[in-house]
């Protein structure tokens, strides 16, 4: 599925300073019954966001209009748990294009990059600075520059670099995905598979 190219993203951010945010919180299993990839954003963080009677929980950050933007900032070990790509779809569908944390679970990280969300891993110290900056001024902006592999707190100019492999970086900057790449090497795969044991 094609996604928007990712180059530079300048945006305010939504803070979620909770550790071990698992994919069951991001999108509970009972919302995985669709056969199309549509509308998952409505149920993003469903049980943290809404009461049982579907009324919004006032103290949850997505229900507080002073916090908005295309960047979600989460606590350590973000996206742990199930392999459901629906978690990444829900985040994308809600309008986020980048998730910042000091540590990501593997499968979530892969799933995000496969659909055009950039996971930015920063140090615990920098993550703390981001949370504090947003707390003191919700209008504070972050700039994520994929080419430079840097994230900047624009209010203070504090900057940190982040890691991403060259292949994925190229894909995200150009809107390519792995399926395109693999289709281009099918001959090679065919030959390899013929000689494989199973």
């Amino acid at each position: 599925m094609a996604y928007d190219k990712f180059t530079v993203l300048k945006s305010t951010a939504v803070p979620l300073p909770i550790e071990n945010v698992d994919t069951d919180q991001i999108i509970p299993a009972r919302f995985l019954k669709a056969t199309k990839r549509e509308g998952f954003g409505d149920n993003l963080f469903r049980d943290w966001r809404y009461n049982n009677d579907d009324s919004p929980k006032k103290d949850f950050v997505l229900n507080n209009s002073i916090y908005k933007g295309k960047i979600l900032v989460g606590g350590r070990n973000f996206g742990c748990g199930s392999s459901r790509e629906h978690a990444a779809w829900a985040i994308y569908d809600y309008g986020f294009r980048c998730v910042v944390s000091s540590f990501f679970a593997d499968i979530f990280k892969n799933n995000s990059m496969n659909i055009g969300i950039l996971p930015v891993q920063v140090s615990d110290t920098f993550l703390d600075k981001i949370f504090k900056a947003i707390e003191s001024d919700p209008a504070t902006e972050l700039e994520v520059d994929l080419q430079q592999q840097s994230i900047t707190l624009l209010a203070t100019g504090e900057k940190e670099s982040f890691q991403i492999n060259g292949y994925k970086k190229h894909n995200l900057m150009n809107g390519f995905d792995d399926i395109d790449y693999l289709q281009d090497m099918k001959g090679e795969i065919e030959t390899f598979a013929e000689e494989s044991r199973y």
Partner: protein
């Protein structure tokens, strides 16, 4: 041989690399691909949108499990959304020529139960599925891990997946396990030591006498929960126990092919002197029956212990407090005697015949506690058949339990098997996340023995007192 000592992981990984991309992932050939109704429909939709075909349909196997009812499976599925997903799997597999064990098929069951049960899972394979507990198949010396739906589409269309090579970790548990300590306790113990993120970025090999002496079903339970400490997967070197388990299963090699396969499988172990990026050592005798008190699988303690304090655990206090508040527990509370409303035995973690034998060994001659609701859910029709044949069904019935039909059930509560808000469930499944077993449900992960002890006493009870 002068070559460098190699780990089991490296042997299997290296033999599947089609291409290595510099400053990028490896392109890995996948031997077996399992699919189910929940994470595959959008992948098939993607194929259609791009006009792609399934490259090797015979390498993919489908079963319906996540979203199936566990009673009255002979009736049409009542929930229209669930029925629609099951229909989509049936249609998609039919149109691409993929094997499908749908609802009602005698081979139907949880994907990670039926794969090994039918000899589809064999040592040295690469195996993926759109489900994080695919790590289960690592028990056979496979590189097996969970993938997202975009990756399901990749495997369908090219039989390959693109993965950065993970780091390697070896976890050694030596010594002997105490009475009443099961494979589930071993893995819950390891996760409690390493935390829910302690193995992220790594592929784990489990080694040592505790695993060597373990049955295949026990090894599957251990490898199954590798993901709960963040590991990409976990594996155990195949040995005689493995070969004996596989021999004679429907899709296992036979005759000359068996001999050839066996010769290869015997090479699948880490060489002496093989290096790992990280290594841990534990003593099996230190492990007691385990139970979790919080909202991730790393928050576990020995059943005779108390809930630790945030300071003892380390990490963020706010997140720890949030977890305990959700559970309705306090620091320093004893786990023994905590009230239990529900008991669930089943899932890809503990839904195999040995798990039901263990459960029955405790409930035999006792009665289910009146206030406890128990869901007894076999991992497959084959397991259900064994439960009946071995007389476990009669033991359960006499003790006041009802046997349900196979599926993932209350492990993820996609179907109607949901624990009500605020209720406590002792569960043999793999995740105690907030709301995992139903909105507001409070999960205590444990072994089938601990689940049985809770079911007959109505509270958290040390199974060693009932053995």
């Amino acid at each position: 041989m002068s070559s460098k000592p190699t780990s089991l992981f490296d042997k299997v990984w290296d033999s599947h690399v089609v291409r290595s991309i510099s400053d990028g992932p490896d392109v890995l050939l996948i031997d077996r691909h399992f699919i189910h109704e929940v994470t595959s429909p959008v992948a098939f939709l993607g194929l259609k949108n791009r006009g792609l075909n399934v490259m090797f349909p015979h390498r993919t196997f489908a079963t319906a499990d996540h979203n199936t009812p566990t009673i009255n499976q002979h009736l049409p599925v009542a929930d229209p959304l669930s029925a629609n997903q099951l229909k989509a799997l049936e249609e998609n597999t039919a149109s691409y020529g993929i094997s499908h064990w749908g609802l009602g098929n005698p081979k139907n069951g949880i994907v990670h139960v039926v794969g090994p049960e039918n000899g589809i899972t064999l040592p040295g394979m690469t195996i993926v599925c759109g489900d994080s507990h695919t790590s289960t198949h690592g028990a056979f010396g496979c590189i097996a891990f969970g993938i997202g739906t975009s990756e399901v589409e990749m495997v369908l269309s090219s039989q390959c997946i693109m993965q950065p090579r993970p780091m390697t970790m070896r976890i050694n548990v030596n010594g002997s396990l105490q009475k009443g300590v099961t494979p589930k306790d071993v893995i819950l113990y390891i996760i409690s030591k390493l935390t829910a993120a302690g193995a992220t970025g790594y592929f784990v090999e489990y080694a040592g006498s505790v695993f060597e002496q373990m049955s295949m079903e026990g090894r599957m339970t251990v490898c199954n929960m590798s993901i709960e400490m963040g590991a990409r997967g976990g594996m155990i070197a195949p040995d005689e126990t493995t070969f004996n388990y596989i021999k004679g299963r429907e899709k296992a090699p036979q005759g000359k092919a068996w001999d050839e396969a066996l010769a290869y499988w015997k090479t699948l172990k880490s060489d002496a002197g093989a290096s790992f990026d990280k290594e841990y050592h534990y003593n099996g005798a230190d492990i007691e029956p385990m139970i979790t008190y919080g909202t991730n699988p790393g928050m576990g303690v020995g059943i005779s212990q108390s809930i630790p304090t945030a300071t003892e655990v380390g990490g963020g206090k706010a997140s720890f407090d949030k977890a305990l508040s959700y559970m309705g527990f306090n620091e320093k509370d004893a786990m023994l005697g905590k009230p239990v409303d529900y008991v669930f035995i089943g899932s890809c973690t503990n839904g195999r015949i040995e798990d039901f034998r263990a459960f029955a060994s405790i409930v035999k001659g006792r009665k289910k506690a009146d206030h406890v609701t128990a869901w007894i859910v076999p991992g497959s029709h084959q397991v259900e058949k064994q439960i009946r044949e071995e007389g476990i069904y009669d033991i359960l019935t006499e003790a006041g339990f009802q046997l349900r039909q196979p599926g993932c059930s209350a492990c993820l509560a996609m179907n109607d098997d949901k624990i009500p808000a605020g209720k406590y469930a002792v569960s043999t499944s793999n995740r105690n996340f907030e709301g995992r077993q139903g909105p507001g449900a409070r999960t205590l992960l444990a072994s089938p023995l601990v689940a049985a002890a809770a079911a007959v006493t109505g509270k958290v009870t040390d199974p060693r007192t009932l053995i």
